[in-house]
């Protein structure tokens, strides 16, 4: 069997499709929630945190697999624990990266240990790391959808303050936005999303659906609404497209998803580069105009409207001088 035939097999495709429609729905649900959260991951510079959370989520899943308990519950517990630790200990980016760097190998090591002790089917083991599509039954689909619904609802509530805090933390602090609450809260939502994504994409490659779509989308537009829509589109096409391509083959699903996702990134990069060259070439006169607008001194002439300046309306006497030394 040639490599091509192993990669793309479409025999009995219709039957497979009907057998695995749960997986396809799960892929679409995941695509939407990952696409939305991916934009915030990009804003908040949390790519490394995603990776760290996914390794601990993997450890949780492997542990529960070993115990014969529900794998999704295990990965959810692992992810939420990791997310909470990272959120609470790593408020500043530098601290955060150290915390993640310490937690991640520990989690991965635990996971490897649990898998080594596990005597069950090997496909279960491998699937946790590199993804799988066969395992999505109706109950798992329900759990994934519930996680997605909770995450999306919470993000909708947090939307404005979270965006403000992510993009403009200094002014957000001054305006009383509770940054210390929003950081850990977002990490929890991220943890839940990672735990859900692991079920299909696998722990090692979660970044391809939780990081890449947001990076690609924000590269081509500064409009937040459009960036979110594009990110959702990229993530959903990657997961669903990856599943559709992987259906017939014998290979794990993740290379299909990661390749699609990377293709979107590449496309966006090229688009942004071409647009950059064009705007430099085409709008040189524009640019000049904008600079000269900036150089224009502000009108300092008489100002109309109420003059409330105290010295103008005599609201108070010339200032008293107070000098106080310690």
């Amino acid at each position: 069997m040639s490599l091509w035939e192993r990669m793309f097999v479409f025999d009995d495709y219709g039957e497979l499709l009907s057998l695995l429609h749960n997986s396809i729905i799960a892929g679409a649900v995941l695509g939407v929630v990952c696409g939305v959260i991916s934009v915030f991951v990009t804003y908040r510079d949390l790519a490394f945190a995603v990776h760290g959370v996914s390794e601990l989520s993997f450890a949780g899943a492997a542990g529960f697999l070993l115990l014969g308990a529900n794998v999704v519950t295990g990965s959810l517990i692992g992810a939420l624990l990791a997310a909470l630790l990272i959120g609470l200990l790593g408020e500043r980016a530098r601290d955060r990266n150290s915390v993640i760097g310490v937690l991640m190998p520990f989690g991965l090591g635990l996971g490897v240990l649990f898998l080594a002790l596990y005597k069950g089917r090997a496909a279960n083991k491998f699937g946790l790391l590199t993804g799988q599509i066969v395992a999505v039954d109706a109950s798992r689909l329900a759990v994934l959808s519930a996680i997605a619904a909770v995450v999306l609802a919470a993000l909708a509530v947090l939307w404005r303050p979270l965006t403000f805090a992510s993009l403009d933390p200094e002014v957000a602090t001054a305006r009383g936005v509770p940054l210390r609450l929003l950081g850990p809260a977002f990490m929890l939502l991220l943890g839940a999303t990672v735990a859900a994504a692991i079920q299909i994409v696998g722990a090692l490659l979660v970044l391809s659906v939780i990081c890449t779509p947001g990076v690609a989308a924000t590269m081509v537009t500064a409009r937040r609404g459009l960036a979110t829509a594009l990110s959702v589109l990229f993530a959903t096409v990657s997961t669903v497209g990856g599943i559709l391509l992987a259906l017939g083959g014998t290979l794990p699903i993740s290379p299909y998803i990661t390749t699609l996702s990377f293709a979107f990134y590449l496309g966006c990069r090229i688009f942004a580069a071409i647009r950059g060259v064009r705007s430099r070439r085409g709008h040189r006169s524009d640019r000049h105009e904008q600079t000269s607008l900036e150089d224009q001194p502000l009108a300092r002439g008489p100002v109309t409207g109420p003059r409330l300046h105290p010295s103008a309306v005599g609201l108070h006497a010339p200032p008293e001088t107070v000098i106080r030394t310690e």
């Binding site: 403000f164 590269m219 103008a312 001088t321 000098i323």
Partner: protein, 266 residues
């Protein structure tokens, strides 16, 4: 609009961190439209004064009111203009979206696009002559443009008090003067009281009503001519400080640990 009383009132205010006291015994009444420049060496408590007014830091002793009420986090009655940083974490966002953060960025919910906020964002941008920048990405702006947009963001809620934390830092001289003139215009047209923390008094010297100079645990409060004088600053710093006024500009030398001295040493 503001009530007839002072916009910002501090009675016997003192602040500190741990065992360290920054300033104490401060009495300050700032009326509508007044321009107060806050000067002093690093670590004297200039930014802390702003944090106290924003309700982010408590006074150790004394009372503070903003527009007659105790400071409240997230109050729309205060606008805040931060320092322009070379490495701003401002990722992909449009100018009008950044300005809208100032309007309702702290509220819960997704905040759908609608006419009223759009209109107010437009007004805020027009007030700083930045209407043309509305649909540009923040990352594309020059330092001077970004600071104008920052002022628009701070003015979006039409505050009675505008707090500026070294907004002129890292701008060149013409931009410093343009931004200072812009802020002066606002207080004249809208009666917004200004608290302006700055290292360099000269760009705002034509507009300043009073100067608050924080140093060495004490403070000086009064007109620029009285406070920025060799005698006053020497008393505050407890060493010989020389102040030269020349052609409407002020040159201060001899301030211990001031950035200018450090530059001279290098």
């Amino acid at each position: 609009m503001s009530s007839p009383g002072p916009v910002l009132r501090i009675r016997d205010g003192s602040v500190g961190y741990g065992a360290r006291s920054l300033w104490s015994g401060l009495d300050l009444d700032l009326v509508a439209g007044e321009f107060l420049a806050v000067l002093g060496p690093n670590g004297a408590g200039k930014t802390t004064l702003l944090r106290v007014a924003l309700g982010l830091h408590p006074l150790r002793t004394g009372v503070i009111t903003v527009d007659g009420e105790p400071p409240r986090r997230g109050s729309g009655r205060i606008g805040y203009v931060p320092q322009q940083r070379a490495t701003a974490p401002l990722a992909p966002v449009l100018v009008r979206e950044l300005v809208r953060f100032g309007l309702d960025g702290g509220r819960w919910g997704p905040g759908w696009p609608s006419r009223t906020p759009r209109h107010r964002v437009g007004e805020a941008l027009a007030a700083v002559d930045a209407t043309a920048l509305a649909d540009r990405a923040v990352a594309e702006l020059s330092g001077g443009e970004l600071q104008r947009v920052r002022v628009a963001q701070a003015l979006a809620t039409d505050p009675v008090l505008l707090l500026c934390d070294e907004p002129l830092a890292s701008l060149d001289a013409p931009r410093r003067e343009a931004l200072s003139a812009l802020i002066d215009r606002r207080r004249r047209t809208h009666g917004t009281a200004i608290v302006f923390v700055t290292h360099d008094i000269n760009p705002v010297l034509p507009y300043v009503d009073r100067v608050l100079y924080l140093a060495g645990g004490g403070f000086g409060l009064g007109s620029a001519a009285d406070i920025l004088a060799s005698e006053s600053l020497s008393a505050l710093h407890d060493t010989n400080v020389t102040v030269d006024w020349s052609a409407g500009r002020i040159f201060i030398s001899g301030v211990p640990h001031s950035p200018r001295d450090l530059q001279a040493v290098r």
